[in-house]
Amino acid sequence: MTVFTGSDLTCRRGERMVFARLAFTAGPGDAIMLRGRNGAGKSSLLRVMAGLLAPLHGQIFWQGEDIADDMAAHRARLQYLGHQDAVKPVLTVWDNLRLWAELRGIRDVDSEIDRALDALGILHLANTTGRFLSSGQKRRTALARILIGPAQLWLLDEPTVGLDRESSAGLAGLIEKFRGDGGTVIYSTHIDLDITGPKLLDLDEFAIPMMEWLAGAPDDVVPEEGPQAIETPDKEGVSA
């Protein structure tokens, strides 16, 4: 059953066309790994999927409904991890997560935060203030945030940045568990995550030069069949 789809997505950042006529489909339990050179638009696509950035063209659907029609419902179903960790240096790890639990209306905030910290292996850092955390610990704190509250969709932008090999393996385990529970994960990463059978979405195939776009001939330079660019490789085939 397809749940999360995008069609004919075109994105422009400033004076640059990032990608054009991009399409994707994802169902419950699916993982899509975004790949492409620097600037190919992986982060932009994740932001478009989250609703942070409006596409120039195209639509994104959740169970057939355009997400733009009910952004509140879309925000409630997703967890997004960006480049930045959003960890306040003067607050403890626990206090940093408390806001997100409260905003999601979690009733038992204490146990929910403890569970998330335990899953990331940083329960012992709960009372440590943000300024004393290493970059990897900050990243794990940010990852703990996505475990707080129910979600159906994880959008993870370079989740492994700053993580050691052990932590990356732990993250892969969390992703697999989320998929096992019916969640959908879309992520970009430059290191190999041990995830079973992710679909690959290569954004280089959707690149379009701005001058050609301005010349009004996008049909000649972009792939006609966007969804065909999605392939499903073996696990060994997924690498940076």
């Binding site: 942070l52 925000r75 409630a76 997004y80 480049h83 960790d85 607050l91 806001l99 409260e102 905003l103």
Partner: protein, 221 residues
């Protein structure tokens, strides 16, 4: 309401631990007010005559000092885009931040204002109205200021820019705030001034969260 309190609690905790904002605002208010007697001379009658205007202008400038920080740190560390994506309406988040700004800026100014009034030889007849006018006017400053603070996100030299954006919008508050105190000192009715200030506050309360939230959404795109 729980979400509003969550934002308020978190931001107040941040403000208290990061420290110096409130102290800096009050210190700026006191120093600025103190400069006027040096500029216009120590003549008691002149100082009493200009006291309400001086206090209000100094309060406007002091309130602007901390405006840049309303959204800036959250914008820089990625918190703001997560708040934009939270299930809570962004307008409620903005209101929480405005409330924090008022509690850390407006309220300390209201406490310090009578002291400055004494220093400027203002008659005690105006003290009550000064405090009431500031209780109505300073939340308006925070609400209008939030729009400017959101508009300058990502801009260089945001502090200067926010002044240019916000100061013209502060003029009605200045006119009616100082006017109310003047009226009280002259024994005239102050109700009309305060009612107009109340109307400006309600209008700001109705519009500013939406305008600021829209600007924040543009900034995090």
């Amino acid at each position: 309401m729980n979400a509003f309190m969550a934002i308020l609690r978190r931001d107040m905790r941040l403000a208290l631990r990061q420290g110096a904002d409130s102290v800096m605002v009050v210190a700026f208010f006191i120093v600025t007010t103190t400069l006027f007697p040096f500029g216009v001379g120590p003549e008691a009658n002149i100082l009493a005559r200009i006291a309400s205007g001086v206090i209000w202008v100094s309060a406007l400038l002091a309130a602007m000092l901390s405006l840049e920080r309303v959204f800036q740190t959250d914008y820089e560390d990625g918190t703001l885009e997560l708040l934009t994506l939270s299930p809570v309406p962004l307008e409620l988040v903005v209101l929480g931040k405005v409330a924090t700004h008022w509690l850390t800026t407006g309220l300390p100014l209201i406490v310090a204002a009578p002291l400055m009034a004494v220093m400027l030889n203002m008659s005690t007849d105006g003290f009550g109205v000064l405090i009431v006018a500031m209780l109505i006017g300073t939340p308006t400053l925070s609400l209008i200021g939030a729009i400017g603070a959101a508009l300058i996100l990502g801009a260089r030299r945001g502090g200067v820019l926010v002044s240019l954006l916000v100061l013209p919008l502060y003029i009605p508050v200045l006119i009616f705030g100082a006017g109310a105190v003047e009226a009280a000192l002259l024994g005239m009715p102050v109700q009309a001034h305060l009612q107009i200030m109340g109307a400006i506050l309600l209008l700001s309360l109705a519009l500013a969260p939406f305008a600021a939230a829209h600007a924040v959404r543009q900034a995090v795109e």
